[in-house]
C-alpha cells in the first residue's frame, strides 16, 4: 500500500491546498499520471503521482490545506488485495476440516488462495480516434488536454485549442482575494482553476530569494560570446521551416548550457545537508516572467539529450503553460540548474540569484551588435551575448566556473554540434 503525499514543489513550499481530484477510488493510476490539482503560492499545479496501482481511498477533500508530506490518498499496488476484502480472501481455516472427510483430495486446492485478479487496464482519458491522430500530428501531449466531447472525451477541437497555446482557455488573471475570504472549499473551487495569484507569487519569490541571498555565498563570472556563427546557423535551419516551427536563439543557449554541464557536472545539482548532491539528469529550469508580474522557472527535462526542434517545442509549450496555468509538479520540482535569458529587449548582462537548493544559475543578456575584434585583428560589428554565471561558493570555485563558461562559449561557436 502506497501513500500519495502532498508534494514539495520547491524548497520554499510548506503547504498546499487541494483544489481538485482528477481520480476517484477504484481508478488505476500510473507513475507520472496527473492525479490532482494543488494550489500553491505558485498557482494551481497539476500534481503527478509516483505510485502505480489503484486508488484505494482519497484522504483529503478539495479545499483542505495541509503541510507538505501529508498523505493525500492511499494507492494499492498492482496485485495487492483491496484492504476491505483482505480478511475474506484467505478461506477460513475452520472450513477445511469440515470439508475434509468428504472431499479430502481437493482440500489443498480449495485452500489455496485464488490468484490475484489481473490489474484492470488503465483507463486513461477518453480520446476520439481523430483527436488522437491530430494530437500526434501536432505533438500535443494528451494528458494535459481538457476534453469537452461526449463523456468528457478529448475531441479534435480540444487538441487544436491546446495546440494554439491555451488560446481556448482564456488567461483570466487570477484575481487577488478581495476582502476576507471564507476558507471554504467553495471559495477554492470558485477561483479559476488555473493562473497565478500575484500576491502569493510575490511572497514565494520573496521567500526563495531571501533564503538564497541569506544562505548562499554567490560568486559571479561573466564572458562575452560572439554569436555570428550561431545566428547564421539558425538562419540556415529556419529557412527550411514554417514560421511556427522556427528555432529561436534561446534554444541554442539552452542546449549549449546543457552540453557544458555534461563537461562540468559539478554545477548540476543541489546543496543539501552540507554537501553537493548531483542532479539525476540535466533538467534545466527556464525563468519565465509572467504578464501579471512575478516569474516561475519550470524545468525542461534531459535537455542535453534532446534535439533542437524538440527543445524548441518544449520551450514554447512551457512558456504557454506557465503563463496560462497547467504546469506539472515534476516541472516545478526537478530543475537541477536554472537559466535566465533576458531576450532581445532585455539588458545586456545579468547577475542571477541562485534558486535554492541549486548550486548555480546561468544568465544570458540580450544579443546585441557591438564592436568586435576579428581573427585578423580588424574591428567589425558583430552580434554578441553576455553570458554570466552565479555559483554557490560552498559547492564550487571560480576556476571551475570559468571552465563552464568557456564550454558554453565553445558550443555556441560550433552550433552544428548542438
Amino acid at each position: 500500500m502506497g501513500l500519495f503525499r502532498m508534494p514539495s514543489l520547491g524548497a520554499d513550499m510548506e503547504a498546499g491546498t487541494l483544489v481538485e481530484w482528477l481520480v476517484k477510488p477504484g481508478d488505476s493510476v500510473k507513475r507520472g499520471q496527473v492525479v490532482a490539482v494543488v494550489e500553491t503560492q505558485k498557482g494551481a499545479i497539476e500534481v503527478e503521482c509516483f505510485e502505480e496501482g489503484t486508488v484505494e481511498e482519497l484522504l483529503l477533500a478539495p479545499g483542505q490545506k495541509v503541510p507538505v508530506e501529508t498523505p493525500m490518498a492511499r494507492i494499492r499496488a498492482p496485485g495487492e488485495v483491496p484492504a476491505a476484502a483482505a480478511p475474506a480472501a484467505p478461506p477460513p481455516p475452520a472450513a477445511a476440516p469440515a470439508a475434509a472427510p468428504r472431499e479430502a483430495p481437493s482440500v489443498a486446492k480449495a485452500a489455496a488462495p485464488p490468484p490475484p485478479p489481473p490489474p484492470a487496464p488503465t483507463a486513461g482519458p477518453k480520446v476520439s480516434p481523430a483527436a488522437r491522430r491530430r494530437a500526434l500530428e501536432l505533438g500535443v501531449p494528451l494528458d494535459r488536454i481538457h476534453g469537452t466531447g461526449p463523456d468528457g472525451a478529448i475531441t479534435v477541437a480540444d487538441v487544436e485549442a491546446a495546440a494554439r497555446g491555451a488560446a481556448a482557455e482564456a488567461p483570466t488573471p487570477a484575481p487577488a482575494p478581495a476582502g476576507p475570504v471564507s476558507p471554504k472549499a467553495e471559495a477554492v473551487r470558485a477561483a479559476p482553476r488555473r493562473g497565478f495569484d500575484p500576491v502569493e507569487m510575490r511572497k514565494a519569490i520573496a521567500a526563495a530569494m531571501s533564503r538564497s541571498k541569506r544562505e548562499i555565498p554567490h560568486y559571479y563570472l561573466a564572458t562575452t560570446v560572439e554569436m555570428a556563427r550561431a545566428l547564421a546557423f539558425l538562419e540556415a535551419v529556419n529557412r527550411e521551416r514554417p514560421p511556427p516551427e522556427r528555432l529561436l536563439p534561446a534554444v541554442l543557449l539552452l542546449k549549449a548550457t546543457a552540453l557544458a554541464l555534461r563537461e562540468v557536472p559539478e554545477l548540476n545539482g543541489f546543496w543539501v545537508e552540507g554537501g553537493f548532491r548531483p542532479g539525476p539528469g540535466i533538467h534545466l529550469g527556464w525563468a519565465i516572467s509572467l504578464r501579471g508580474g512575478g516569474l516561475v522557472a519550470p524545468a525542461i527535462h534531459d535537455v542535453d539529450a534532446r534535439p533542437l526542434p524538440e527543445l524548441m517545442a518544449a520551450l514554447r509549450d512551457l512558456v504557454g503553460r506557465a503563463r496560462n496555468g497547467g504546469l506539472k509538479s515534476s516541472e516545478l520540482a526537478d530543475a537541477t540548474l536554472t537559466i535566465t535569458s533576458l531576450g532581445e529587449r532585455g539588458a545586456e548582462a545579468v547577475l542571477p540569484v541562485i534558486y535554492p537548493p541549486q548550486v548555480a544559475m546561468v544568465g544570458f543578456g540580450a544579443i546585441v551588435r557591438r564592436p568586435w575584434v576579428d581573427d585578423e585583428g580588424g574591428l567589425v560589428a558583430r552580434p554578441v551575448v553576455q553570458v554570466s554565471l552565479a555559483a554557490d561558493h560552498r559547492a564550487s570555485d571560480g576556476h571551475l566556473g570559468s571552465r563552464f563558461l568557456a564550454a558554453i562559449a565553445d558550443h555556441l561557436q560550433r552550433p552544428e554540434s548542438l
Binding site: P129, A131, T155
Partner: protein, 329 residues
C-alpha cells in the same frame, strides 16, 4: 408560372402510368390494385385507363402472385408486383430470396429477372403490429436484390423507370407516411439514378444518415439544430442495397460525427451495417462515438401515443446529435 402541387402518391401513380405507356411488356399485379385502386390508392383509375389485362387483381396469396411475377419476368415481361405491406411480403419471402434473388445466379446468368416489387412500409398510421414494420433492412441483407427507398417526390416519380430497366429484381419500399407528402415536382428533373445516395442538406458538424420515411423528420431535426448553431448534413441513402459507401464515408470524414436514423429495429439492422462500415473504414476520422436513432424493439403498438413513442422523431434525432456536440446540455 409555377408548376402545380402534387403528392408522393400521385408521383407513384404517374411513374406506373408512364411505364405502362412506354412499354407494352409492363403490367401491374397485386391485391386490390385494380377495382379497389390499391389500398393506398396509388393505382386508382389505372384499371379504367389500361384494362384488366395490365392492371391485374390477384388472389390473397403473396407467394403465388410474386411467383407468377418472377415467371413472367423470366418469360420476357416487365412485371410490377405490388405487395400491400412489407409484413405480408414475408409470405413471399421464399419466392423473393430463393427464386428472384437466386435464379440469375444459379442459372449462370441465363435467366434475368427484370421484376419490380413495390410495397408499403413503416409505421405511423396506427395500423398495429402486423402492418407497420420497417423490414426493408432484411431485404437489404440479400445479395441479388436491389433495394430502393424513394423519399422525395422526384424519386417516387422517376425511380421506377430505371428499376424496370434493371435485369435483376428490384424492390421499392414506399413509406406509408410519405404518400400524402405534398410539393412541387422539380421540372428540371426528368430522371434519377438508382446507384447513389443524395446529400439532401449540406452541413459541417455532423452527418445524419437516413432514408425513406425518416427523411422528413431528419431534415426537421437538422433545422432545429441549425437554430442552435449545429449544422447537420443529411444523407438520404435512396438505395439500401448496394449501399453507396463513398457518399457516406466522404461526408463522415468531413464532419467526423455520424448519427444514423433508421425506422427498423436496432439489433441487426441496416443502421448497424452502416455504423460498422464507418467503423471499418473511417475509424481514425471519427471525433465522437457513432449514434443511432431506431424504433423501439417492440412489435409496433396500436395506441397512437405508444406508436409515436416507438418511432424515431425529430426530437430524438436532435437529442442524439446534441449528445455528440453539446454533451453538457
Amino acid at each position: 408560372m409555377s408548376a402545380p402541387t402534387t403528392t408522393y402518391r400521385e408521383c407513384c401513380k404517374q411513374a406506373i402510368r408512364a411505364a405502362l405507356l412506354a412499354d407494352p411488356r409492363v403490367f401491374l399485379m397485386g391485391e386490390d390494385v385494380g377495382r379497389y385502386g390499391g389500398c393506398y390508392a396509388v393505382s386508382k383509375g389505372l384499371l379504367d385507363e389500361f384494362g384488366p389485362e395490365r392492371i391485374r387483381d390477384t388472389p390473397l396469396s403473396e407467394s403465388a402472385f410474386v411467383g407468377a411475377g418472377i415467371g413472367a419476368a423470366i418469360a420476357g415481361m416487365r412485371p410490377i408486383v405490388e405487395i400491400m405491406t412489407v409484413n405480408f411480403s414475408l409470405l413471399a419471402l421464399d419466392q423473393i430470396l430463393n427464386n428472384a434473388a437466386t435464379i440469375p445466379h444459379m442459372s449462370g446468368g441465363q435467366f434475368a429477372i427484370p421484376l419490380v416489387i413495390r410495397m408499403a412500409t413503416g409505421g405511423g398510421r396506427q395500423l398495429a403490429a402486423q402492418h407497420s414494420h420497417s423490414l426493408e433492412g432484411w431485404y437489404a441483407h440479400i445479395p441479388g436484390l436491389k433495394i430502393l427507398a424513394p423519399a422525395t417526390l422526384e424519386d417516387a416519380r422517376y425511380m421506377l423507370a430505371p428499376a424496370l430497366l434493371d435485369p435483376n429484381p428490384v424492390l421499392i419500399f414506399e413509406h406509408i407516411m410519405l404518400y400524402n407528402l405534398e410539393g412541387v415536382l422539380d421540372p428540371a428533373v426528368t430522371s434519377v439514378d438508382i446507384e447513389h445516395a443524395a446529400i439532401r442538406r449540406p452541413g459541417r458538424d455532423v452527418t445524419l444518415v437516413t432514408y425513406g420515411g425518416s427523411l422528413p423528420e431528419t431534415l426537421a431535426a437538422a433545422e432545429t439544430l441549425a437554430r442552435e448553431g449545429i449544422e447537420a448534413e443529411v444523407i438520404d441513402l435512396r438505395v439500401l442495397r448496394p449501399l453507396d459507401e463513398a457518399t457516406i464515408l466522404e461526408s463522415v470524414r468531413r464532419t467526423r460525427r455520424c448519427v444514423i436514423v433508421d425506422e427498423g429495429w436496432r439489433s441487426g439492422s441496416l443502421s448497424a451495417e452502416i455504423g460498422m462500415r464507418i467503423a471499418e473504414q473511417a475509424f481514425y476520422e471519427l471525433d465522437a462515438p457513432l449514434r443511432r436513432v431506431c424504433s423501439a424493439e417492440v412489435p409496433m403498438p396500436y395506441a397512437g401515443h405508444l406508436e409515436r413513442a416507438a418511432l424515431p422523431n425529430r426530437e430524438r434525432i436532435a437529442a442524439a446529435v446534441r449528445t455528440l456536440l453539446r454533451p453538457g446540455s
